[in-house]
């Protein structure tokens, strides 16, 4: 059965960012660059299909050699314990896992974290895919995910979106405040 949801996104609090600079320099970063996103998910034949779309007036697909450019990106986060929180990206002993799509990468990345600033990236399993297109001011990204025990078990995700044009990266992102239950 498919799940369709309109998600309200909020700016992730810069105060959570490790170190002294980001929390202070971006204390005014309270308005999400992406206020909402649409999510559609289904689970068939052992494979999750999770489609995200959001408004992006200008797509940034590559750095093009520019040291001041940031690319568009989106991620799905999944808890691995009952106590894992999405907003903090987990915590020591309550890790989270995820999949990251970047507009400049051919393949998605698998991520794992136990709190902000602890993200570890590695190539996603070959059976995981992310297909993306940008049309008429919207990104449409569809993840196909096979063999992800944490997602199969908890059937919950959190969403994060980075707008490259707004120089969003790391903790400067638009996120769902809570886990989204997939049916």
């Amino acid at each position: 059965m498919a799940t369709r949801r309109r998600l309200v996104l909020s700016a992730a609090p810069p105060a959570l960012s490790p170190g002294g600079y980001v929390a202070r320099a971006y204390a005014d970063h309270v308005t999400p660059a992406t206020a909402q996103a649409d999510l559609a998910s289904s689970f068939e034949g052992g494979a999750w299909s999770i489609a995200l779309s959001w408004r992006a007036a200008r797509a940034v697909r590559a750095l093009d050699g520019d040291p001041a450019r940031f690319v568009d990106a989106a991620a799905l986060l999944v808890p691995t314990t009952e106590g894992a929180q999405a907003m903090t990206m987990g915590a020591p002993g309550d890790p989270v896992e995820g999949v990251l799509w970047r507009a400049d990468a051919e393949r998605p990345l698998r991520i794992a974290a136990e709190g902000w600033g602890t993200v570890e990236r590695q190539p996603a399993p070959p059976q995981w895919t992310a297909t993306a297109r940008w049309k008429d001011g919207f990104w449409y990204v569809t993840f196909r995910l096979v063999g992800w025990p944490a997602l199969d078990r908890f059937r919950r995700v959190a969403v994060a979106v980075w707008q490259g044009a707004a120089r969003e990266r790391a903790g400067l992102k638009s996120v769902t405040a809570q886990w989204i239950r997939l049916s």
Partner: protein, 346 residues
Amino acid sequence: MTTTRTADAGGRQLAMVLDLNKCLGCHTCTIACKKLWNRDAGAAYAYWNNVETQPGQGYPRRWQETGGRTATGAVKRGEIPDLDADYGRAWTFNHEQVRAQVGAGAHKPWLRPDAPPTWGPNWDEDHGAGEHPGTNHYFYLPRLCNHCTHPACLDACPRRAITKRGEDGIVLVDQDRCHGYRFCVEACPYKKVFFDPERGVANKCIFCLPRIEEGVAPACARQCPGRLRFVGYLDDPEGPIWKLVEKWKVALPLHPEYGLGPNVFYVPPVGPVAFDRAGRLVDDAPRIPGALLESLFGSRVHEALRIVRDERARRRRGEASELMDLLIAYDWNASFRLPAGTREVL
């Protein structure tokens, strides 16, 4: 190797002193560094060491305005310099076209940049300020990472990818941890962290760490024809750094008001005196304005200049001066005091 997130672990600190009275503006330091460390495609625009003319906008352009610290040392949001407007894109030239023209017998082939340059690491060289003749002035300011005691770049990295070594205070980027977020580039008020867009990671001066570990001074210091650079540990009372910074107090950090504890120090330029309208030298009218030097090196610059002038006068009277002997670098080997036993034999 031991590393720490801050410099408060009580470790030693390597440092460098540059005597600005001796800088020729020849850029040998810049080229030595560039050829050794920055030849990757994504680092074409990046100069870990550069020499800029002061007063001037420097490299990257407006760096003194775009860092992540206020004049009172508070955090403010910094900027990532623009590739064209602030760093200046690395120039490429029409070599193939010129070769073809020469081959076709052209008498005046025109070698020119492929795209009109907009800015660069040496863009406003020798512009300076003041009126000629009389008050015109400029001096050269070589710049590199200050390997700060409290590095803004380290504080800015949410990945904890930047560390400060406990044994020598060298600040390093762990490119395996770096995710290319560039908060370090923003935050550094000296704009001495760079981003490689080809590799997606930050990079910066490593104080020629592999050379240091062999007892050899950094390439920028060793290659300096003017012998204006001194290298050693800040706490070594037998070394040139301690003598110039702590004993003689003539070497000052750049922009101490940022509050980061830079560990590159400068002997400020005394400069020539001004001419009056009749073309006579005016002894008490330095051509380089004190306010300019104070804006760069803080209020202690005036006392440092007085000490240098006094010691110069002492030397002119034929009296001994440890400071002048040190700054003149009669014994070049004494300019670099690195751990005995690994000290390079010249």
